[in-house]
Amino acid sequence: VSECSRETCFVPDTTCDLGFLDRSRCPAWSAQPSSLPVDGKTLDDVLLPWSGNALGLADISFLAGRAKPLTVGIVGPHNAGKTTLLAAWYLLLGRGLLLGPGRKFAGSCSLLGWENIAGGLRWAPGLQPTFPPHTTSRAGRAPGLLHLAVRDDAAEFRDYLLADAPGEWFKRWALNRDAADAEGARWLAEHADAFILIADREALSGQDAGSARGALQLLTQRLSAEYGTRPVALVWTKADIETNSAIEGAVRETVNNRIPDALEFPVSIISPDTTAKGTGTGLIELFDWVLNVRRRPAALPQSTASCSDPLFLFGTRTT
C-alpha cells in the first residue's frame, strides 16, 4: 500500500516517483503524517525505482526514461501456453542459450516476475480487468509486463516488455472489444509494438477442438481489426502434439485471410532429439523474431501547399 498521496508513487515499496531520495523533502510526501518503518525499511533507507515483480503501467514510466521499450503482446486463450512460453524463454536465458551470437542480456527490472513465472507461481487470487499500476515485490504473480534489456555487438541497447496477461482478457476482448473486463487487452491492442497470437495445438486436436477453433478464429478477427501494420506472429504451441490437419488448416486459413503478413512459428518445450542442449523447438527462433521487431518510424500527416509563398506555404487562405 502506497503511503504517498500521488497515484503514481508507491513508497515504501519503490522510490519516490518525483526522484527525491530524501522523502521528507518531497512536497507530496510532506503532506503525509509521519509513518513508522515498514517491512524493516526505515525512512533513511534508499529505495529502488522498481519492485522486481512484473511491471505495472505506472512502473514503466521509469524505464521509458532511457528509451521507449518495445512492447510485445502475447495474445491467446486461457491455458494455451502463454506462460510456458515466457517461462521457457527465461530458463533458456538463464542458461545463456536464448540470445544468439552478437546479443547479450543486459538486465531486467522484473527479475522476480520472471522467477515467479518460471517457478510455476499461480495468479494471485481475484481476476483483474487490466494491468495494475504497480505490483509490489511480495504481491506474487499479477498481470504485468516482463522486462528484458538486450545489447548487441554494435552496442545497441534495447528494452523489451513482454506482456504476461490472463487468457480471460482476450476471450472477453474477442467477444466484445469494449467489455469492461477486457481493459488490459485493449491496452495491449493500443500500445503493443508486435503481437504473438497463440494457437494451442493440444486444444485444437482434443475433444473440444471445435470450440477451440471457434474461439481462436474470433480472436484472430478481433486482432486483425486492431493490429494495423504491426508485426504479428502466429505461434503453434505444444507443436510436438499430433495435429488435426482439418482444424489446423481452418485456423491457418482464417489467419492468412485476416492477417496476411503474419509469420508462423511452431514451438514446443520438447527438443527434437535428446542429444541437443534441450532448447526445445522453435523457441529461440521466435525470440529472435521478437528481438528484430522494430517500431515503424512516425509519419507526418500530408499537407498540401496553398500558395507558392514559402512563408505562408501551409496556412489556409481566407479571402
Binding site: 529502488l48 517461462a87 542458461r95 542480456f105 522476480l112 510455476g120 507461481l121 506474487g140 518445450i269 520438447i270
Partner: protein, 277 residues
C-alpha cells in the same frame, strides 16, 4: 597520483571469504614484496586480529557476525612509488543478502557505494546452488510442473544481477550505456575448490551464464579473476601443521583475467584501484 583515500567497495555474501582475503592481503602488504605494499601502519588492525592469529595457527577464521561493519584505512605504496590510501572493510555478509531481499539500501551503504572508486565483487562459485535452482530443470519439465501457491526462492543468478543493478542505480548509471567507472572486478574465491583449470571468465560463464552476460554487457572492461586466499581448506578447530609452520604468507594465489597464476595477492587490489596492471 594523489594520496587521496581510494575506497574499494568490497561486496560479498556470507561465506565467500572476505575476512580470509582481508587478513591475507594485510599480511602481504606488510611483507611488502607485491605490487602494493604498506607505507607506515594501518589505522586499525582490530578487525583482522583474530583472523590473523587463527591463520598463524593454521586454523580458519570465524564467521564475521552479521551486524558488524568495520573499516580500516591502509596507507599504500605502488611498486612505482606512487601512493594511495585504501579503505578496507570487514563485515557480516548477510548484510548484502538483506539489501537484495528487502530491496532497500541503508544510508551508510549508499554512501559507500556512491563514494567507492571501484567495486570488488567476491563470488564463491562452489556455493552457488546447483540442484534446486529453477535453471537446473529440463525445459520439458515445464509441462508437468505443479502450480505453486508460494514463490520459490530466487535463483542465484537473478539475485546477483539484482544486486549489481541496485548498486548501479545508486550511482545513477541506468541509461543503458556500458560503464567505464567504477571499475568492476569479480573475484572468484576459493578457486582451489573448482575442479580443472581454465580462465576465470570461462568458469563464471559456464556456471552463471546470464550473470556473466549481464556483467560483460554493462561494463566496458570488467575483470574476472580467480582467488584462492588460503590455497587449501582450513578447519576452525583442527590445526593444519604445515600451514602454520610455513606461515600464511606462503599460501594463496591469484589467477589473472588472462589466466596467469601469481602468488601476489595484492594484484586484484591494484587492478581495482588503477584499472590495469
Amino acid at each position: 597520483m594523489s594520496e587521496r583515500a581510494k575506497s574499494v567497495l568490497l561486496v560479498g555474501e556470507s561465506g565467500v571469504g572476505k575476512t580470509h582475503y582481508g587478513a591475507q592481503l594485510l599480511k602481504r602488504l606488510m611483507k611488502g614484496d607485491g605490487m602494493l605494499r604498506m607505507r607506515g601502519a594501518a589505522t586499525n588492525l582490530d578487525p583482522f586480529e583474530t583472523a590473523l592469529e587463527r591463520l598463524n595457527e593454521g586454523r580458519a577464521a570465524d564467521h564475521t557476525p552479521t551486524p558488524v561493519y568495520v573499516e580500516s584505512i591502509w596507507p599504500l605504496e605502488y611498486d612505482d612509488g606512487s601512493k594511495a590510501e585504501l579503505v578496507w572493510p570487514d563485515y557480516g555478509g548477510e548484510q548484502i543478502k538483506a539489501m537484495v531481499t528487502a530491496r532497500s539500501i541503508p544510508l551508510p551503504w549508499m554512501r559507500r557505494i556512491a563514494e567507492a572508486h571501484s567495486w570488488l565483487l567476491l563470488l564463491r562459485l562452489n556455493k552457488m546452488r546447483a540442484s534446486d535452482d529453477i535453471f537446473s530443470k529440463p525445459l520439458a519439465q515445464l509441462r508437468q510442473r505443479t502450480i505453486q501457491s508460494a514463490a520459490s526462492p530466487v535463483s542465484d543468478q537473478s539475485r546477483l544481477i539484482e544486486l549489481l543493478q541496485m548498486l548501479m542505480n545508486v550511482r545513477g548509471h541506468f541509461n543503458g550505456k556500458p560503464l567505464a567507472t567504477p571499475h568492476l572486478a569479480l573475484l572468484l574465491t576459493c578457486w582451489d575448490e573448482l575442479q580443472g583449470t581454465g580462465l576465470p571468465g570461462a568458469a563464471l560463464r559456464a556456471q552463471l551464464p546470464m550473470f556473466f552476460d549481464f556483467v560483460v554487457s554493462n561494463w566496458q572492461k570488467p575483470k574476472i579473476l580467480g582467488l584462492s586466499a588460503l590455497e587449501r581448506a582450513l578447519s576452525p578447530e583442527q590445526r593444519d601443521a604445515e600451514f602454520a609452520s610455513r606461515g600464511p604468507e606462503s599460501f594463496g594465489y591469484v589467477i589473472s583475467h588472462e589466466g596467469d597464476r601469481s602468488s601476489d595477492l595484492t594484484l586484484p587490489i591494484k587492478l581495482a584501484l588503477v584499472g590495469t596492471i
